[in-house]
């Protein structure tokens, strides 16, 4: 584990360091430093060791007070793919997602057990600063939540607090283009982000999340508050994002999961990760009977 990636060390040399680590993590196929733990994982999730693992949960559990919200989760999420998390309401999808960038820290009652590794490093280690972690892992929320600031300032905010001192205009434009919003807003960058439509607001939030150039983007039902046209735009966007980023998306909509994701994780009631694998296989030929029942709409 000596060569493992230390998030906490990242803060001093953010810009150069991030670029170097990315090249290291994505283009060179180094042996996975945590291969030896494969034996612990559940049978249905073994076969994806070929892809480059970015996020790995090892016996990850979450309790809210005395209530168990996540039963031990073991899973590896591959780089530069879209992983969909599906399951019935209350099964712990959001809880799992919030473990990845430690947004659970904000919930007083939440207790996390086990490990959640980002490029091999347990993000719950003492020496990991959640602030540094969140600079690597962007998040898009269920309801669009732009700041009551101008469109420009919304996108620039992450870069500003991270001390970016390069060409801000260029980065803002790049992020807005990346979020497929540039053409719609390029003449009104000084207007409030709140004056946009719901779908535009959500794409603005995506632009805000990708502007600091994270490695992973987490999305918690990003299209559930949008109409079908806006949803289609966001789905197209997710497809494009996967070329550059690792995307983990929670969705209630199984057609959506099937359309946009490469891998799918199915959580079922009780906070259990029941099955994980290629999206096509999960939807056509699930191993688990309960997953099949859920996918075919027999319960949930």
């Amino acid at each position: 584990m000596s060569d493992s990636y230390t998030v906490g060390d990242e803060r001093e040399n953010e810009q150069d360091g991030a670029a170097a680590d990315r090249a290291d993590g994505r283009n060179v196929s180094t042996p996975d430093p945590v291969d030896e733990t494969t034996g612990e994982t559940t049978p249905s999730i073994q076969h994806i060791a070929d892809a480059d693992t970015v996020i790995e949960a090892a016996d990850l559990t979450v309790h809210y007070g005395d209530v168990e919200a996540l039963k031990p989760v073991n899973v590896r999420l591959p780089a530069q793919e879209v992983t969909a998390i599906i399951g019935p309401s209350g099964c712990g999808k959001s809880t799992f997602l919030r473990c990845i960038n430690r947004m659970n820290d904000m919930v007083d009652a939440a207790r996390v057990g086990g490990e959640l590794r980002f490029r091999g490093k347990n993000v719950y280690d003492e020496d990991v600063d959640p602030v540094a972690l969140r600079r690597k892992i962007g998040m898009v929320f269920q309801k669009p939540n732009p700041f009551p600031k101008s469109i420009y300032d919304n996108v620039a905010y992450g870069l500003e607090i991270q001390g970016y001192d390069g060409d801000m205009d260029a980065r803002v434009e790049e992020a807005l283009r990346g979020a497929a919003l540039w053409d719609e807003v390029k003449d009104q960058l000084d207007e409030s982000g709140l004056d946009l439509s719901g779908g535009q607001q959500q794409r603005l939030c995506i632009a805000r999340a990708i502007a600091p150039d994270p490695e992973v983007i987490l999305m918690d039902e990003p299209a559930s508050a949008l109409d079908p046209v806006a949803t289609a735009k966001v789905e197209d966007l997710i497809d494009e994002l996967a070329e550059e980023y690792t995307v983990v998306i929670v969705t209630h909509n199984m057609q959506q999961a099937a359309r946009i994701s490469d891998k799918t994780a199915v959580f079922l009631t009780g906070g259990q990760l029941v099955e994980f694998g290629e999206t096509n296989r999960i939807f056509e030929n699930p191993e688990n009977q309960r997953v099949e029942d859920y996918i075919t709409g027999k319960f949930g």
């Binding site: 947004m103 904000m106 998040m139 898009v140 929320f141 309801k143 009551p148 905010y157």
Partner: protein, 345 residues
């Protein structure tokens, strides 16, 4: 509008008499279904229940009582204001605002040598300005700590309950505290600073509670958005929470301050002067500077001082003082309302 010469249904130009242009005589259809036998239409709700009328009456009586209660308050206020304005009519002059008080009523007359409320006016304004600075820092600081940082615990709820209780403690008790702590123990004497610190203690609980409410009203989704792009706790508070809560905090603080400006009891307790000839301002090489450690008079006490003088015309002088005090108070409240309206959408 253009018309097709040979459109389908081209003969129908909408002139069917009912004006909706659909070519159907809607009126005849409508009435046909209701008028069954040409006689009086029976009321289908006639026998639904006779208690409805009684309940309606009860409701009207209740509304009447509530309306009357409102009226009592408003009428009392207007009578009071009217009386004060009537008494003060012609006494609030420029001289009244710019001259120190006098014990001789002749000096207050329009052709007199000039006398007025100037030292107490300046004293009150400085007092409130100092109090505003102290409460802004202490009150907002405490509210931010309690809302944004302090973990949920017994201690926190204990502290919050006590802050709420402190808001109900009579102002004279704060005067006693100010006397013991600031005047005697710290040794500030009967100074402007001691007065401002005492008034700060008095309104601090209300400022904290209202600032907490303003902070609580900032949706969590905003905080999460900032945390999500890697903001620290401090950056979240500075960039997201405070800007969103500031209008509410300002409104609450200004309204508390406008209560403090009329307070008399705590100032009597700490031994502030009832009437001063000099405003608490020093000349430091030509520049007027507030004299924080010197004695001061405030408007409510000056008004009280006039009101208890035996000579009849001093009642007019007191009324004039009240008008000045109320004007400042209304200006402060108007500022609070302006701030609220500006940021509320």
């Amino acid at each position: 509008m253009t018309r097709l010469p040979f459109g389908l249904g081209g003969t129908d130009d909408g002139r069917d008499g009912d004006g909706d242009g659909d070519g159907v005589r809607t009126d005849s259809l409508r009435t046909g279904s209701v008028r069954t036998d040409g006689g009086e239409t029976p009321n289908p709700f006639a026998n639904v229940g006779d208690d409805i009328a009684r309940k309606q009456l009860l409701g009207r009586v209740f509304v009447g009582i509530c309306g009357a209660s409102t009226l009592v308050g408003i009428v009392a206020l207007f009578v009071l204001l009217g009386d004060v304005l009537y008494e003060a009519w012609g006494w609030v002059t420029l001289d009244f605002l710019t001259y120190p008080p006098s014990r001789f009523i002749e000096n207050y007359y329009p052709d007199g040598r000039g006398a007025g409320i100037y030292p107490a006016l300046v004293g009150s304004i400085l007092l409130i300005a100092l109090t505003a600075v102290f409460t802004m820092f202490l009150g907002v600081g405490a509210a931010i700590y309690l809302e944004e940082y302090a973990p949920e615990s017994r201690l926190k709820s204990f502290i919050e309950a006590n802050i709420a209780n402190l808001a109900g403690v009579p102002s004279i008790v704060y005067g006693l505290l100010g006397l013991a702590v600031f005047v005697r123990f710290v040794g500030l004497g009967e100074s402007l600073l001691a007065g401002a610190l005492t008034l700060t203690l008095l309104i601090l609980p209300i400022v904290i509670v209202s600032a907490q409410e303003a902070l609580r009203a900032v949706p969590d989704s905003q905080r999460h958005a900032a945390y999500g792009v890697g903001a620290t706790d401090w950056e979240v508070v500075r960039d997201v929470v405070l800007p969103a809560a500031l209008p509410g905090i300002m409104t609450g603080t200004i309204l508390s301050l406008s209560r403090a400006i009329g307070e008399t009891a705590p100032l009597i307790m700490i031994g502030a002067a009832t009437s001063m000839f000099r405003a608490p301002i020093e000349d430091v090489s030509g520049i007027p500077v507030p004299d924080l450690f010197g004695p001061f008079a405030a408007m409510p006490m000056q008004i009280f001082d006039w009101a208890r003088l035996p000579e009849g015309d001093f009642q007019h002088v007191a009324a004039a003082g009240i008008v000045v005090l109320l004007t400042i108070l209304l200006l402060m409240n108007a500022t609070a309302i302006l701030i609220r309206n500006k940021y509320e959408k």
